[in-house]
């Protein structure tokens, strides 16, 4: 068994080799597999403890909420471990372009979020097949079928994952302690939306500004499926997508800036 990651020097190939090396590391980390197992367990737990209905299907038995939390944990760990193991030293001196390292890691963790989403979706389909009679074509709310609702949710989760992955990388560069970052991830996952709604409820005159607060971005996971949520988030379909992508861009810029400055 042999791998050759650093043979080529061209820019395109070195991005590819960076990606391959990061993928190789990622696959061998325990947290990658643990994340998947935890997701499955949480979904099953949700089946066992909550009334199984169409809403559960739309939110993929809680996966829509859990995936961002798992992503923050796995993403920050994946970057923090390079510093813990001091491998960042070799990674940095062997690469001229720091952004390649950052980018490759970002891509791999984001791909992982796609994997989680696919797994959650497949499991949802299986669980629905086993537990619920409502057909996929059934109209649930406002002339939407169960299928379109689920699709909307999946797309929302994928975009929100971008927000979350870039955030987790920025946080680990800022705070450096991945347990702390995971804590923030949990708080965000469970309290973020509530805080955002409460804020906008308390300062109604400030809604035009407050609706752009980062905590509000989580509603994308629900709103794409169920446009009625626009009333809660105060953001339109395009606004909430734009908001998420803009935040992702800001997090990338800030996170990369911190990464570049970080002493080793």
């Amino acid at each position: 068994m042999s791998f050759n990651f650093y043979i080529n020097n061209g820019v395109v190939t070195s991005i590819m080799t960076s990606l391959r090396a990061e993928l190789f590391k990622f696959n061998h980390q325990r947290s990658a597999l643990a994340g998947i197992l935890i997701l499955i367990l949480l979904m099953v737990y949700s089946v066992l403890t909550t009334k199984v209905d169409s809403t559960q299907v739309i939110f993929e038995f809680g996966a829509v909420q859990w995936i961002p939390i798992i992503m923050i944990a796995v993403g920050s760990t994946f970057f923090a471990m390079e510093y813990q193991n001091r491998t960042i030293l070799i990674l940095l001196y062997k690469n001229t372009k720091r952004w390649q390292i950052y980018w490759a890691k970002l891509m791999i963790v984001w791909l992982y979020s796609l994997v989680l989403t696919v797994i959650a979706t497949l499991l949802t389909i299986v669980l629905k097949f086993l537990l619920i009679r409502t057909p996929w074509s059934a109209l649930i709310s406002k002339h939407q079928t169960l299928l379109t609702l689920l699709t909307g949710n999946v797309i929302g989760t994928v975009i929100y994952a971008l927000f979350i992955v870039t955030l987790s990388f920025m946080l680990i560069m800022l705070i450096k302690i991945n347990v702390a970052v995971i804590g923030i991830g949990l708080a965000l996952g469970f309290l973020g939306a509530g805080i955002s709604v409460a804020l906008m409820g308390a300062f109604t005159s400030l809604i035009p500004i407050l609706r752009w607060n980062p905590l509000n971005m989580i509603f994308i996971t629900q709103q794409l499926a169920n446009p009625a949520y626009a009333a809660v988030s105060h953001l339109s379909f395009f606004e909430i997508i734009g908001g998420n992508l803009s935040y992702a861009a800001i997090f990338i810029i800030l996170g990369y800036g911190l990464f570049k400055k970080r002493r080793i």
Binding site: S2, F3, F5, Y6, Q29, N85, L92, K94, T96
Partner: protein, 296 residues
């Protein structure tokens, strides 16, 4: 091959390395020596383009900066602690950087890591990790290898093995920059010594020259100590006496021979005291400390 010219390294606002200038040629084995906190690790990181610095660092005529690492393609390094992914096997750790599986395999067997190379690195002992870190630094026949405390945690046989590897690679033209606090170990490999203190290079010499230049004393043994004392004192020659053995200054040895032979006091021994390498280093650092105080 490696040219370091007027390099100043800063960590934050603090200047760590001051005006470092030296060259490393192919096949050189440079011992980098200095007290804790002198700046050895920082100097090594600087060469690897990992710190903010001014001045010039060139490797084969290609400039190295914090953002330009192209020249470092043929540099291997082990800095402070071996950089190892604990969730990968030793083999996989090597494969991440190896260009040539045969070269990789050769290093594994030379460092005698075959027995555990397919185990996850998290289960390795200190010395096993250290050997893996050295193997990573030696991969791909590098032109320059930077080793920070490479013998850390190695057993006797491993130390000998690593020493042999260093000689082999150096014979093929690989240059080494090695820091260590185990001077006796360094002495067995280095061809050149760089002594660094408070971020300044205070000595940069071939090892033979270094030892010759800094031999501080000669040991003198004569057939009659009492007479010797008398004549040395009469001629105002400084000495120390311990038992029947004198210690004298190198600059006086011809004069002493003349005096004693005129008085028919025969020499039994007059030899340069191989003040151990360690003693020389301590003396030099001590002198420099005195010098520093003068400047303040």
């Amino acid at each position: 091959m490696l040219v370091v010219q007027n390099v100043n390294t800063y960590i934050g606002r603090k200047q760590i390395i001051t005006d470092a200038t030296f060259k490393i040629h192919p096949g050189n084995i440079i011992g980098l020596i200095g007290p804790n906190g002198a700046g050895k690790t920082t100097l090594m990181k600087t060469i690897l383009g990992l710190t903010k610095f001014d001045g010039q660092i060139r490797l084969n005529q290609t400039t190295v900066t914090e953002n330009q690492h192209a020249a470092l393609i043929n540099v291997g390094a082990l800095i402070e602690h071996p950089a190892i992914y604990p969730f990968l096997t030793g083999q996989q750790n090597l494969a991440l950087y190896a260009h040539d599986p045969a070269d990789c395999q050769r290093l594994i067997s030379k460092l005698e890591m075959t027995a555990y190379i397919h185990d996850q690195a998290k289960g390795y002992s200190l010395g096993m990790k250290q050997k893996l870190g050295i193997a990573i630094a030696l991969l791909n026949n590098p032109q320059l290898v930077i080793l920070d405390e490479p013998m850390n945690g190695l057993d006797v046989e491993a130390t000998i093995g690593v020493r042999r590897l260093i000689h082999q690679y150096a014979a093929q033209g690989t240059a080494f920059l090695i820091s260590s606090h185990i001077l006796s170990e360094l002495q067995k490999v280095m061809t050149q010594v760089i002594l660094i203190n408070h971020g300044r290079i205070i000595v940069d010499q071939p090892i033979a020259e270094f030892e010759q230049l800094h031999h501080q004393a000669y040991r003198l043994h004569t057939e009659n100590s009492q007479l010797t004392v008398k004549f040395l004192s009469r001629h105002h020659i400084q000495y120390t006496l311990d038992g029947g053995t004198f210690q004298v200054n190198p600059k006086n040895i011809f004069e002493i021979q003349d005096i004693l032979s005129a008085q028919h006091v025969h020499l039994k021994e007059l030899t340069p005291i191989s003040s151990s390498f360690e003693q020389i280093v301590v003396q030099l650092l001590h002198q420099q400390r005195g010098g520093d105080q003068h400047h303040d």
